[in-house]
């Protein structure tokens, strides 16, 4: 019924620590412009931070696409993280709290999923990973 329209798009390459910070700032600015509540802004920025770091550490770098979208009823922020790294062999396992291969807390993926309204993960071993998250205004 409702057509999803994209109101604005920004792309950032992720190759260094500083790029992760840049992704955070970009998502924050978009979330403010989309009039997300303060808590929701914080949630989507935190999720973006986790995912951007994953792209850098596990994917060997990649890019982020941040979009402001409208589904006809409400506005939202959609962020896409893409890398051409080794991919994720067991997606279910990777989404389990506390599971990590990189020495972290293992909350990056699972936590990011909890912080967003929509979470899509597409990964193939050897071909890379693509994760898209969306947060809607309430």
């Amino acid at each position: 019924m409702a057509e999803l329209s994209v109101l604005g798009t920004d792309e950032v390459p992720i190759h260094t620590d500083a790029d992760v910070v840049r992704v955070r700032q970009l998502v924050r600015a978009a979330a403010v412009a989309a009039k997300l509540s303060l808590v929701d802004q914080t949630k989507i920025v935190t999720a973006a931070s986790e995912l951007a770091r994953n792209t850098l550490i596990y994917g060997g770098g990649g890019q982020a696409v941040v979009e402001t979208v409208n589904d006809g009823r409400r506005r939202g922020i959609r962020a896409l993280f893409r890398d051409e790294g080794p991919g994720i062999a067991d997606v279910d396992l990777a989404l389990t709290d506390g599971y990590t291969t990189g020495g972290g807390l293992g909350l990056g993926l699972s936590g990011a999923r909890r912080l967003c309204d929509e979470f899509e993960l597409d990964s193939a071993v050897g071909a890379g990973t693509c994760i898209q998250v969306t947060k809607w205004t309430r």
């Binding site: 955070r24 808590v39 949630k43 920025v45 931070s49 986790e50 972290g104 909890r114 912080l115």
Partner: protein
């Protein structure tokens, strides 16, 4: 890369994070703090994060690690000034910052540290008048 400044006030090291932390900056802060605790003999660490717009799992882990390291080095860590939205997000993320003490603001954080240190001072110094003893200890430890 920017570095977060560490201030020394009495027996407490004060870190006020005013920038959007890069992972490397966070790691550097962790190292700097460990060294400063040892070199100054500080008994308390106060990390003020009211300017932080987010705390993700990496920064969360940094805070926990700093608390653990400083405890090994005989200093108590208090994280102060976390924003409500940040706290709500951390809970949702599944991070509880185990082992990290928290306070609403710098003042209350200092109160906690003071109380701890006073208790210890009371335990250690039994024979001498409290005032002069505390004074001499202070001088002996921080000769600058």
């Amino acid at each position: 890369m920017e570095r977060v400044p560490i201030l020394k006030i009495g027996r407490v090291l004060l870190v006020s994070v005013q920038i959007d932390l890069q992972d490397q900056t966070a790691l550097a802060l962790q190292e700097d703090l460990s060294e400063r605790i040892v070199s100054t003999g500080a008994r308390g660490v106060l990390i003020e994060i009211s300017a932080l717009e987010i705390v993700d799992s990496f920064i969360g882990r940094m805070l926990s690690t700093i608390a653990s390291i400083s405890r090994v080095l005989d200093a108590e860590t208090v994280v102060v000034g976390m924003r409500p939205a940040v706290a709500i997000t951390l809970v949702e993320l599944g991070l509880s910052l185990g082992g990290v003490r928290t306070a609403l603001n710098v003042e209350k954080g200092l109160e906690i540290l003071d109380r701890d240190m006073t208790v210890e001072d009371d335990n250690v110094i039994e024979d001498e008048p409290a005032g002069s003893a505390a004074g001499s200890v202070t001088e002996a430890r921080w000769p600058n």
